[in-house]
């Protein structure tokens, strides 16, 4: 890392503020619309993703990525007979 935490925060505060607002406005838009016909598993993933952002653990980007990933099965080659 070339920058201090203070520099990262100062330099990126406005951009992240804007992104936070985008997500907030998305949820408002969703709730203002008809909620009955949605794929709840998708909404659930987005809500879980938001919880990762505010928890106290690191590697948030990798954990959000894994949240949105299909699971790997080690025996895939046997299943495919390859």
């Amino acid at each position: 890392m070339t920058r201090s935490a203070r520099e990262v925060l100062e330099q990126e505060f406005l951009q992240v503020r804007a992104k936070t607002l985008e997500i907030a406005a998305f949820f408002d838009r969703l709730h203002a619309a008809e909620v009955s016909d949605i794929d709840h598993s998708q909404l659930d993933l987005l809500e879980q993703g938001c919880r990762i952002l505010s928890d106290d653990k690191h590697d948030k980007a990798a954990r959000v990525q894994l949240l949105f990933s299909r699971a790997y099965e080690a025996d895939w080659r046997e299943k495919f007979s390859l």
Binding site: T2, A61, Q65, L66, S69, R70, Y72, R77, L82
Partner: protein
């Protein structure tokens, strides 16, 4: 700053894009064979495409002093058709001696199916038999983690494959360490929508260091930005990285990796005469 784009699909770009890239410092690029936006109907469709990659694009690039290299295969999206894939794999050797061919790629998985894996393994056979370097496409979005693990299983499971001659592209935060810790090269694809932003790529460079790491723009048929590497260079400069450290990722690493291919006849920009290149084309 001079740079090399190790993964850019110039068949989908205009000649103006070549000019812009040259003005931004791009001195060489490698173009893996990929999906054309539609499924091709026959092996002859691929033969024509390989002529475009080995004859037409190097000439277009040379007009602006850029060296163009390429990789050949049938991409994962069209590999679902195993019969057609086998015909294409059998035809590829016709082009392996063309002067700008660096190896087999971009092979990989798309939806992680049995047919895709079958065709991937048959491409590996071809690469081993003909001693070619390999460039790998990993799937996108929810398929990336599973597909990357499957690809690594197949690569590591074949003791004839030397990881230092394989580049695994489109790595992101959840796959980069899997690739690097097994000794492969890793490429981060900078993309406006899916894949990775210049900021996140800079984060990964800071976390993992520059060794065996590269960045590319893809520049394909989707919404993509052929000048994404200059964006990354600017982001790294803003963060205070030295020119030498930036150059390692965007220039030294691709040159080092490609130099393992006997067809990589790279002329360093300091030794180039662009006028000669233009006249040759």
């Amino acid at each position: 700053m001079y740079y090399v784009d190790p993964h850019i699909h110039m068949v989908s770009r205009t000649t103006d894009d070549y000019e812009t890239l040259a003005k931004m410092g791009c001195v060489a690029m490698s173009e893996p064979a990929f999906w054309a936006g539609y499924d091709r109907g026959s092996v002859d469709g691929f033969r024509d495409y390989f002529r475009q990659l080995t004859e037409t694009e190097p000439k277009r690039a040379a007009q602006f002093g850029i060296q163009h290299f390429t990789w050949l295969c049938i991409n994962a999206k069209e590999a679902e058709d195993v019969q057609l894939s086998r015909e294409v794999i059998a035809m590829i050797p016709e082009f392996l001696d063309c002067p700008n061919v660096l190896g087999i790629g971009e092979i990989g998985l798309n939806k992680n199916t049995k047919n895709e894996a079958t065709v991937f393994l048959e491409h590996l056979e071809l690469a081993v038999r003909t001693n070619q370097q390999i460039l790998i496409h990993t799937p996108h979005l929810e398929d990336k983690f599973q597909g990357t693990r499957m690809i690594l299983d197949m690569l590591v499971g074949d003791s004839r494959i030397d990881p230092s001659r394989v580049l695994v592209d489109h790595v992101e935060e959840h796959t980069i360490d899997l690739v690097l810790e097994r000794g492969f090269w890793a490429g981060m694809t900078l993309y406006p929508i899916s894949k990775c932003t210049p900021q996140r790529a800079a984060d990964m460079i800071e976390k993992y260091g520059p060794e065996r790491l590269m960045a590319n723009s893809a520049g394909d048929w989707g919404p993509s930005k052929p000048t994404a590497i200059p964006d990354l260079i600017l982001e790294l400069r803003r963060r205070g990285h030295s020119e030498a450290a930036i150059g390692e990722v965007v220039y030294d690493n691709p040159v080092k990796f490609f130099s393992q291919s006997r067809r990589f006849d790279f002329i360093r920009p300091e030794q180039r005469n662009v006028r000669d290149q233009i006249e040759l084309s």
